[in-house]
């Protein structure tokens, strides 16, 4: 088509749909319009058309996603296999391994000796007969009544990069929007002074893999939907402060002028990235006021700080980020993504995993308790997941108190809690070796579909048209797991 004609066509469509989309609950579904339009037609944040909004009444209004980067060992944390103790150092039977692929880190090993967890497990009461958890998660055990453990998670990826990409975007190859971006696109902001999708990173104790910024990228969605990383030291968001000698009023005038120029450009080029640019400049201006208050813990009482543990006073720790997550949640931020690095224990697992659990256990339990008593847990969805689990056989030398574990995508444990999730249950089972799924497999797409359902979305209808096809977070599959719903 002639590009000039296309330009006029787009302009006309934009006007037509832009008007229609601003009436709430109108007969013409804002949803299909949003999809047709390809997202926001923002000309400044205040004029942004309403987001799609949920398809049906949501159980949860926001998400706190605790991603455990590296792949935590389900066998040492959540998947209780006491019978394995009698198989210590025996070779993993071929009937279990079934010749499946391994990473090149262990595929050359001459033996695959079974390494039972060296940790004691304890059974915490929940609403369905109790759940066995490792002794190194005592605080998590104290909130077992709130958690739905999924013991039968599986993924297709065997390495970190594709594994994290798969969990974040529903696809192993880079380029798709992150879960948080989909939520920003679908739900919009509930606080125009803060980013809709916030990201925080905690450095782990052991072997750490790279965290690429595209894990919280918006892919082909307009770029105002990308995650905003809050830094742990110095200014939480860079370049928010006015430069020395610039008054806030001057800043306002400057932004107004740049905004007017950008709007002219947006009208002429119709490039949605210019709209995104305008929206982000306005957001940054408002964040100048809201972010310092957000990250200042001085209004937290001592008892609350104690609940999260001593680490909470050190910016960037998992505890501090969990408290910050609660503060973001209560201020209406839709998607809060925490990354905890350092779960990649190929060797020396028993020592290293304890350093990791010491960093997360108290804080994640505190987060649940703190949200609960503030009336926020019922409308906040919490997900705890790594990109895969770890092998039952030892990588490297196995001794009675030391072993390593390689990546294991075929079966592992994740958990969810909060709004719309069945509290105090376990779902799915692995085989005697914690190697294959024995019951009720849950794919990454199934997990995404279920979480979207809790957030009020039919995962097959939350779509964005790009390069001629409708894309979904769940790609072309995914099934809502009814047993996980409250």
């Amino acid at each position: 088509m002639n590009p000039i004609h296309e330009h006029y066509l787009s302009l006309t469509r934009r006007r037509f749909f832009g008007r229609a989309a601003t009436t709430i609950g109108a007969g013409l579904g804002a949803l299909s319009l949003g999809s047709l339009l390809g997202g926001s037609n923002a000309l400044g944040a205040q004029d942004t058309a309403l987001p799609q909004g949920p398809h049906f009444a949501p159980k949860a209004k926001r998400v706190i996603y605790l991603h455990m980067e590296g792949g935590p060992s389900h066998l040492d944390l959540y998947d209780y296999k006491p019978e394995l103790r009698r198989r210590f150092n025996q070779d993993l039977p071929d009937s279990i391994r079934k010749g499946q692929r391994l990473t090149t880190m262990t595929s050359g090993q001459s033996r695959f000796p079974v390494a039972p967890s060296m940790f004691r497990f304890q059974r915490a009461e929940n609403r369905t007969g109790g759940v066995w958890l490792s002794e190194i998660l005592p605080h998590t055990a104290s909130v077992a009544n709130e958690i739905a453990f999924i013991h039968s998670m599986e993924t297709e990826a065997i390495n970190h990069e594709p594994g994290i990409t798969f969990f974040q975007t529903g696809n192993q190859q880079p380029g798709r929007p992150s879960f948080g971006s989909w939520m920003s696109y679908g739900l919009g902001s509930a606080n125009a002074n803060l980013p809709t999708f916030a990201v925080m990173i905690t450095q782990g104790q052991g072997n750490m893999q790279a965290l690429a910024a595209r894990f919280w990228g918006s892919g082909f969605l307009p770029s105002e939907h990308q995650g905003c990383k809050l830094r742990s030291s110095g200014d939480p968001v860079l370049y928010l402060k006015d430069p020395p000698g610039v008054a806030r009023l001057d800043r306002r005038r400057m932004l107004d002028l740049v905004g007017a120029l950008n709007e002219k450009e947006a009208r002429e080029s119709l490039d949605p990235e210019v709209d995104a640019r305008i929206a982000q400049a306005e957001m940054a201006y408002r964040m100048q006021m809201s972010v310092p208050e957000l990250t200042d813990f001085s209004d937290e009482d001592e008892a609350t700080l104690a609940l999260y543990g001593e680490d909470v006073r050190k910016p960037g720790t998992f505890a501090a980020n969990c408290l910050l997550a609660r503060r973001l949640a209560e201020r209406g931020v839709r998607f809060i993504q925490l990354y905890m690095r350092g779960w990649d224990q190929h060797g020396g697992l028993p020592g290293e995993i304890q350093l990791q659990t010491r960093a997360v256990d108290r804080a994640q339990a505190a987060l649940i308790k703190d949200l609960r008593r503030r009336g926020l847990l019922d409308e906040t969805l919490i997900l705890w997941a790594g990109e895969f689990g770890r092998t039952v056989y030892s990588q490297g030398t196995l001794t009675e108190t030391n072993y390593g574990r390689d990546h294991h995508p075929r079966a592992f444990t994740v958990w969810a809690a909060g709004g719309g999730i069945a509290p105090g249950i376990s779902y799915g089972k692995t085989d005697d070796y914690g190697y294959n799924i024995a019951e009720n497999p849950v794919t990454v797409h199934d997990l995404h579909a279920t979480l979207l359902h809790v957030l009020g979305f039919d995962h097959e209808r939350l779509v964005y048209r790009h390069q001629g096809r409708d894309y979904r977070l769940t790609d072309v599959s995914g099934r809502v797991i009814p047993e996980l719903l409250a």
């Binding site: 004609h5 006029y8 006309t12 037509f16 009436t23 709430i24 609950g25 109108a26 013409l28 804002a30 949803l31 205040q46 987001p51 799609q52 949920p54 398809h55 049906f56 009444a57 103790r85 009698r86 210590f88 150092n89 025996q90 033996r111 000796p113 060296m118 004691r120 915490a124 009461e125 109790g130 002794e135 055990a141 104290s142 739900l187 509930a190 606080n191 125009a192 209560e330 209406g332 060797g347 020396g348 697992l349 028993p350 020592g351 290293e352 304890q354 350093l355 609960r372 008593r373 503030r374 009336g375 019922d378 490297g396 030398t397 001794t399 009675e400 108190t401 030391n402 390593g404 009814p482």
Partner: protein
């Protein structure tokens, strides 16, 4: 070109409406496919089996499509409901994979299924009337569906003030309104002014961390559809809460860290629909909390939820194996211990018991020492500086 493009857009929009338009022009006969069966299929099936999607190859949005059937063959056998695939699937147990509609979708009323069966039994005619066929009685619609659409100007005003407003769902005209972004300046006057034109629509109202008081509570008492009210971290006390009165619809009330005291217990108990109240951080006596908890169907979160009990702890694991433990790697190998004496006791090491810390392997004298090492690995590792 520009004009034809515009025409295309409008004709698309018109097409969306055309079904209703035709129906309005020619009133259908009361006991026909068009007036009874098509609406049921439209509401229950066409979302997945219609013009836009055809799961299982099946479409049910037009007579032609219904006759064509799907991947499982004919969807119905005229005159024989019992042999009709459509009817069979409707009657399968909900948990069955083949049950339709899927278990996470709204299910048809028994009266609707009966109407479909009667129509098929009568030969599934697309024209004319079927004896005894009538529009099935439906359960009364929830009150939310009769809430009028919100005034666009009032919505625009809220958004201009950076107040979050969103319909509860795509199909709902009721609103969730959240003042989080401007909480510090959300005074009574501003809140009531902004919401005055939206009284019928406000269903969930969040005013946490705001300076609201009696004026807002009195206003909330006049909101007919209010079901959830969040007043966490406000100065609201007994006097202010009393202004809410015996609100007939409020189900969830968040009063955590407010000035509510024992004096509000009767007020809370006067709310007929109340099912969850959050009172953590309020100066309530144990007796008051107990009085609230005595009401059936009311959950009271006072921040005193007990930790989950530990029901059972397993014995310290004993590892047994018939196979010998392989020899540890020789010195120089990255997996070889860096120490000859136990870091904890100083006794000679047994290579069966090791830990790895910061890439270095440490061996111990007995199975107990690794646990002690874990309590402060940096301290013990420092006893062997630089040895690699």
């Amino acid at each position: 070109m520009r004009l034809s493009a515009l025409a295309l857009v409008f004709s698309l929009a018109a097409a969306c409406q055309s079904g209703e338009t035709n129906a309005a022009l020619v009133p259908p006969r009361p006991s026909s496919y068009e007036s009874v069966i098509a609406p049921i299929l439209q509401q229950r099936c066409v979302g997945c089996h219609g013009a836009e999607r055809a799961k299982g190859g099946l479409r049910l949005h037009t007579p032609v499509a219904i006759r064509a059937g799907g991947a499982s063959g004919a969807s119905l056998v005229a005159g024989d409901p019992a042999s009709s695939e459509l009817v069979r699937r409707l009657h399968l147990p909900l948990a069955d994979e083949e049950h339709m509609p899927p278990d996470d979708k709204p299910q048809p009323e028994p009266t609707e299924i009966a109407a479909l069966e009667r129509w098929i039994a009568a030969g599934a005619p697309f024209e004319g009337e079927v004896e005894g066929l009538s529009v099935p009685a439906r359960k009364p619609q929830p009150a939310a569906s009769i809430v009028p659409p919100a005034d666009p100007a009032a919505l625009a005003r809220l958004r201009a003030e950076l107040v979050h407003v969103q319909p509860l769902s795509a199909a709902s005209t009721s609103l969730w309104i959240d003042f989080a972004a401007i909480a510090p300046r959300a005074q009574d006057a501003l809140v009531t002014e902004l919401l005055a034109a939206l009284r019928p629509q406000v269903a969930e109202l969040a005013l946490a961390r705001s300076p609201v008081g009696a004026g807002t509570l009195a206003f909330c008492a006049t909101l007919p559809g209010l079901t959830r009210l969040d007043l966490r971290d406000t100065k609201v006390g007994d006097v202010q809460l009393a202004r809410l009165g015996a609100h007939p619809r409020v189900e969830e009330l968040v009063l955590a860290r407010t000035a509510i005291t024992d004096a509000s217990v009767d007020q809370l108990l006067s709310l007929p629909k109340l099912r969850h109240v959050y009172l953590w951080g309020c100066a309530l006596s144990a007796e008051s909390v107990a009085r609230l908890r005595a009401r059936p169907g009311l959950a009271v979160d006072f921040g005193d939820t007990p930790d989950a009990a530990i029901a059972q702890v397993e014995d310290p694991p004993k590892f047994t194996s018939d196979l010998p433990i392989p020899d540890l790697p020789p010195a120089g190998d990255p997996n070889a211990p860096v120490n000859a004496a136990c870091p904890v006791t100083g006794s000679p090491i047994n290579p069966k018991y090791t830990r790895t810390f910061e890439g270095r392997v440490f061996a111990f004298c007995c199975p107990n020492c690794p646990g002690e090492f874990d309590s402060d690995p940096a301290k013990y590792a420092a006893k062997f500086p630089g040895s690699r």
